[in-house]
Each structure stands twice: as structure tokens, then as C-alpha cells.
Point group: C2
Chain length 389, copies 2
């Protein structure tokens, strides 16, 4: 109890406090998981975290799906010394929107990732060496299929809610179509039923930044001294621009210079916005694997529930049974509101219950990672309503 | 005459036909040009082309200023075998908007460029080797100052019109402020009085793509076998996305695959939009110098007629005397209409005559390089009105 009191003092009463990442391994040969590509993958380990308690009826489970650079560590701290909590800490905890007094919250690192789940940096059991490009290309569908193994393992039949922003929203949408009976409600934030041509274009230049870095070495850099840090940092810098709106960049940095009053007339970093991007790039290489970046962006590019136009959106969504909450952000130009509205219309044509809100904010695509009263309130109400029903 | 007839048959009656690039060298030491940075540069050569004839009163001269990747070759062909004409050929020629039956049209390659004007790939007379990064950083003001030498050399006191899109528009605006008595009218297309934070951000990641290519070698690659082609191609690919609107990319490519019907589940080029970007990158390295790309993007970043907010836009524009035509494109997100409208308002506060039109088009920033009846008509009328007055 004294320990609990001390942690509460350290982290506050609405923090989940100290949490531990857990691991579940499945799909052992010869029962590998069959991927959308037709290739087989196994064994597969998923790193995951849970917060709160599963109720006896097992009806209060929420699966949070992370975005491109996220991981299983949604909330709380791994050690008392951690300076930063999990990536969506303001959303998950006692009394927070995903209220751990009420809900059992789960998040797992996607396959293809580099935060504990099986991905290109994992050891290939067939060779005893890291997979590198031997790792098979995975899709959003494959990520969801792997999560389904975990949900089975946790003994949960139906998820109260599957929720995610950006690529996380793609997974939530995929869950609702692929496993209609196992998803009571789905919350899609700043996402799309298929990535736009512009989105593919930005992902491709980001991948190109990595793959043209000589230190990438066709994906074989795990056992060498140097990694494709320059390429990965550049990829992150490019992507980061697309996560913010022009307005946010203007307000935050404008044309302000960094640590100087006059132009230097050279090619050093001069503007604050340049310095900020470099910081983002440099911080990213410390926590992310370049090959995982390739695999995950490829999965995002491939996401298209209409199967390349073979189905209309209405047809593609026909299997879904969940109630939907869909949120988009007015200044998000990477996953613009029109992509969300398209899903809303198609769901309504299928007579599904859907609540939609375009939230006014100028933070751009990354808005879902920033506290927003409207977003929080809508999620709270949507969950409360559906827990009772 | 038979030769003329043959060329007319080859190129059409509204082509300027075969043209030759000319060169003017000035600022010979010890009379070097003093740059905004305080550094001196000389001798300076400008590559330029002219079309049409200067009238005896010298009142029909139009200076076209090119954008980042442009050059002096605006219209016509250098040889009868050329497959493509100059970069704004549809705008310049007999009967075209910049009608060479009426106007004397001039365009020079900017200093810092790589198409015949003095830039980082030129020989530094002090060392006998290419400048590389020894070349001083230049500004839009410096580019305009160098053009002024050329206009003096051509014996023109006042330009009927200075016109340009994007960085060309920045030069036209700079001309109007810097040399008010020498600019009768100015046409600014898809431009801004200062580059946005987002614009700086994209330029910086493009530069970073070049500077992290090991073959860039701190700018010393002119005498080596290999050039920073991968970095320059990537820079161009990044920039190219920003030149097009999401709508244009969607209409042109959508999610269509290239030469295949199914996903390949590997990292080869699969989507048409990827293939298009690679084509753009690969074509660019054949015609552009990586160091020039660094210098010119830096000049664009530095452009800010308010001098970092020391002046209001109204104050910054106070010296101008020209009549203005300002055009922006509704789908241009790199130089959005609001940037143009800001200039319009400030000019009006200074009681200057200004005509403004936001042209509805979904081609994005690059719209000025594509035929557009509204753009052409507005330019024709604006010029006709001001030639007579």
C-alpha cells in the first residue's frame, strides 16, 4: 500500500501507474498463420499491455490499435523513473475516457513492428538471424488476424470497442468487417477506408529515403555497426510534416529563427521549423527500426477495403454489424474529413448506426494524439451508452 | 525563306521557332556585385533568351522570371530536333498571351542556377575549380539585382511587365519593390510575400535528401565519377508531391497499379503514383545540379519582404508603383490563395491598382505550367490595357 501511495503521488490518481508489457506467442509451426499474401508466418509473438480488469461477463474489453509509430505501451509507466508515459496516456486511466475503473483495455504492437512483436528485426527461427527483408509483407488484415489470436487467448468473445487513429482506425475498420460478431462497437479516428494516392506518394518517398541510404544495405544492417539512421530520420521528417497542418506549423514556428537574429547565409539549420523536424527525426531513430518502417507503411498503402474497386464501399462494409463512432479533424489533410464522410455514408446505406463528428482543430492529422474536449466527450458518451445496452 | 517555311511547318505558326541562348557577363572584379549577405560575387554570367523585338521606344519589354527548376529557355526550340519546346511555350509566341508580335520577351536563368548562369557548378576563377559550397548563398533579391544588370545591358529603362509563378512571382514582387520606377506592371502567379513554415519544412527535407547522400560529399562531386543522384531524385520526388493537389493525384492515378493486377507483396514499385514519382525524380537528375537545388531552395526560404516581421506587409509594399495582376489557384496548398490575398489587401491599402483572381482548378501549385483559359485571358487583357496606357 505504501508503494501504491508513493506511485500515486508520483504519477497522479488518474494514472494506471506502473505497467508491464506481456507477450503471447502463437502460430507455432506447422500451424503458422497464413498471411494475405499466401505466405506463412510463425511462430508469432505479440507484445501487449492491458489496463483495468476484465469483468466476469467479459463484456468490458476495449482493443486500442496503434498508428504507424506506436506500440503496445498506451498508458502508464514501465518504471518509476520513466519520464514519459505511454503514447495515449491522457485517454486511458481511472476516470479518463477509456476509464480503467470500468473497462479492460488492451493494446498490442502490430506484427511487422519493432516494439516486441514479431517483425523484420526479430530472429528468423529458420536461419537464427534477424529476418530483414526475408520477413513477409504483412497487411492491416494480417495485423488484425494476429490480434484475433490474442483476443482468443484472453478469452474474450466480443470486444466492447475497437478503436484507433490513423492506421489504428484502419485496423478497427478491418476488425468490424472481418470479425463482425466480435466487435460490438468501433471507433475510427482520422482514418480512411483506403489510403489516398497522395498518402501512397508520401509513404513511397519516406521508404525511398531509407532504401537509398547505403547503410540500409538491402535490409541487412542488424549485425553491422551502422544503421540507416540518416534515411530513417529523413523518412520521419517527411512524414512529420504531413501530420501537422500548415496553420499549426505557422502558429508554432512561423518563420522564426533558431538561436539567432539574422540569416546565416549558409546551409546550417536556421529556422525553428527546421530544428524541430531534425529533433523529430533524431528522436525517432532511437526508438524505431528502419525495416519496420518499410513494412508498416507498405501495409498502410495496401489498405483498401474495396479491394481495388472490385467492391463499392457500401458492399465492402456490408458484413459489419458494429455501431460506429467516426471522428475526423478539420485540418487533417493527410486523412481528410471527406474520407471519413465517405465511410459514414456507406455505413448508413447499410443501415448501421453511426455517429460522426468533424472536430474543428488546426493541429492536423496528429490531433488524435493531443487532448481535445470534443474527442474525449464523444468517446466517453459513446462507450457509456454501449456498455449499458 | 524556305528554312523559315520548313520550321513553321515543323513547329506551327504560333511558335517562336529556333532560339539561341545568349550570355551576358558583368560584375568583373574589382567591381563585383555585393550580395545581400555582404559577400561579393563576380564575374557573373547570366544565360538569357529573348523573343520578339524591342520597339524603338523600348516600352514593350516583358521579363519572365522562372521557378525553382526552370531556366532561360521559355519558348521555342534550340534545334530542329528538340522534342520539347521551352517550359512556358504555350504562353510565349506569335498570337500567344505573351505575344511576340507585340512584346519583347526576356528570360534569364537565375544566379545560383545550373542552366548557363553563374552558380555552384560554375568555375570559381579564384581556384580554377567548380565553386561547390564555396559559392555564396544568394537571395531572391540577389537574383533580381543580377537581372537588373541584364536589363541595363539591353538598354531598357522600364519593363512593361515582370511576371513569374512560384519563385518567379517572388522575383516579380522583389522587382516591384526594389526598382519601382523600372516596373510598369507586375504579374504574380501562385506566389507569396514570404515562404510559409510548411514550405520551409518541405525545402529542408528536400535539401536533407541531397546532403545525406554520401555522394554529395559536402558539395564536391563535380570532379568525381558519381553524383548525388539518389538524393537529388528523392528531393524532386518530395517536392513534386507538393506541386500537385490531392485531387489531381487522385484523378490521375488513384490507387491504380502499374503493369499488374494484384499486389506483389514486396517493395518494388507497384502503384502508378509511385512509378510517376520515380520517373519525375529520374528525369530531374539528368537536367539539374544538386548544389543548385540547395542554393535555390535556400533563396526561396529566405524570401520575406517583411524582413522577419520588422515591417508590416503594407509597409514592405509601400515603395511599389506598379500595377499588379495577381493570380492564385484554388487547389494550390503550397502557395495557397490566402498568401496572394494578403498581398492584394496590402497593395490596396497602399492605393495601388491590383487585379486579383483565384482560378478554380484542381491541378495544384503547378497549375501555372498548364494551359488555363482564365489565366491566359487575364494576362492578355492586363498586358493589352497597360501597353496602350
Amino acid at each position: 500500500m505504501r508503494e501504491t501511495a508513493r506511485l500515486e503521488e508520483r504519477f497522479g490518481p488518474d494514472s494506471v501507474g506502473i505497467v508491464q508489457t506481456q507477450y503471447y506467442t502463437f502460430a507455432h509451426p506447422p500451424n503458422e498463420m497464413v498471411l494475405e499474401s499466401g505466405e506463412k508466418l510463425g511462430p508469432i509473438t505479440l507484445a501487449y499491455e492491458t489496463y483495468g480488469k476484465l469483468n466476469p461477463q467479459k463484456t468490458n474489453a476495449i482493443l486500442i490499435c496503434h498508428a504507424l509509430s506506436g506500440d503496445a505501451h498506451v498508458a502508464g509507466y514501465h518504471t518509476p523513473q520513466d519520464r514519459k508515459p505511454g503514447w495515449w496516456d491522457f485517454m486511458v486511466g481511472p476516470g479518463k475516457p477509456f476509464d480503467t475503473n470500468k473497462y479492460f483495455v488492451i493494446c498490442s504492437n502490430v506484427i511487422g513492428g519493432c516494439k516486441g512483436s514479431t517483425g523484420p528485426s526479430s530472429i528468423n527461427p529458420k536461419t537464427g538471424k534477424p529476418y530483414g527483408l526475408e520477413f513477409p509483407v504483412v497487411t492491416i488484415g494480417d495485423m488484425v488476424e494476429a490480434q484475433r489470436y490474442l483476443i482468443d487467448h484472453l478469452g474474450i468473445n466480443q470486444l466492447l470497442n475497437v478503436v484507433g487513429g490513423s492506421m489504428g482506425g484502419m485496423q478497427a475498420l478491418e476488425w468490424a468487417i472481418r470479425f463482425p460478431d466480435r466487435v460490438k462497437t468501433a471507433t475510427l479516428i482520422a482514418t480512411s477506408a483506403r489510403l489516398s494516392a497522395q498518402g501512397i506518394a508520401f509513404n513511397e518517398v519516406s521508404r525511398r529515403a531509407i532504401m537509398t541510404d547505403p547503410k540500409w544495405n538491402a535490409g541487412n544492417y542488424y549485425e553491422t555497426e551502422e544503421k540507416p539512421d540518416a534515411g530513417l530520420a529523413l523518412a520521419r521528417m517527411i512524414a512529420h510534416i504531413t501530420y501537422l497542418s500548415e496553420e499549426a506549423l505557422h502558429r508554432k514556428f512561423g518563420r522564426k529563427l533558431k538561436d539567432r537574429e539574422k540569416y546565416g547565409y549558409n546551409f546550417s539549420t536556421e529556422f525553428q521549423v527546421e530544428s524541430y523536424l531534425h529533433y523529430q527525426g533524431d528522436a525517432f531513430i532511437k526508438r524505431f527500426d528502419a525495416n519496420s518502417y518499410l513494412y508498416i507503411t507498405k501495409a498502410i498503402d495496401y489498405f483498401d477495403i474495396t479491394k481495388g474497386g472490385q467492391l463499392t464501399l457500401e458492399e465492402a462494409l456490408r458484413p459489419a454489424k458494429a455501431k460506429f463512432l467516426i471522428l475526423s479533424f478539420s485540418s487533417d489533410w493527410l486523412y481528410p474529413s471527406k474520407d471519413s464522410k465517405e465511410i459514414v455514408r456507406a455505413l448508413k446505406k447499410n443501415n448501421l448506426e453511426v455517429t460522426y463528428c468533424e472536430i474543428k482543430t488546426d493541429y492536423g492529422h496528429d490531433s488524435f494524439l493531443i487532448r481535445n474536449p470534443t474527442m474525449e466527450e464523444m468517446i466517453v458518451n459513446f462507450l457509456a451508452k454501449n456498455l449499458e445496452e
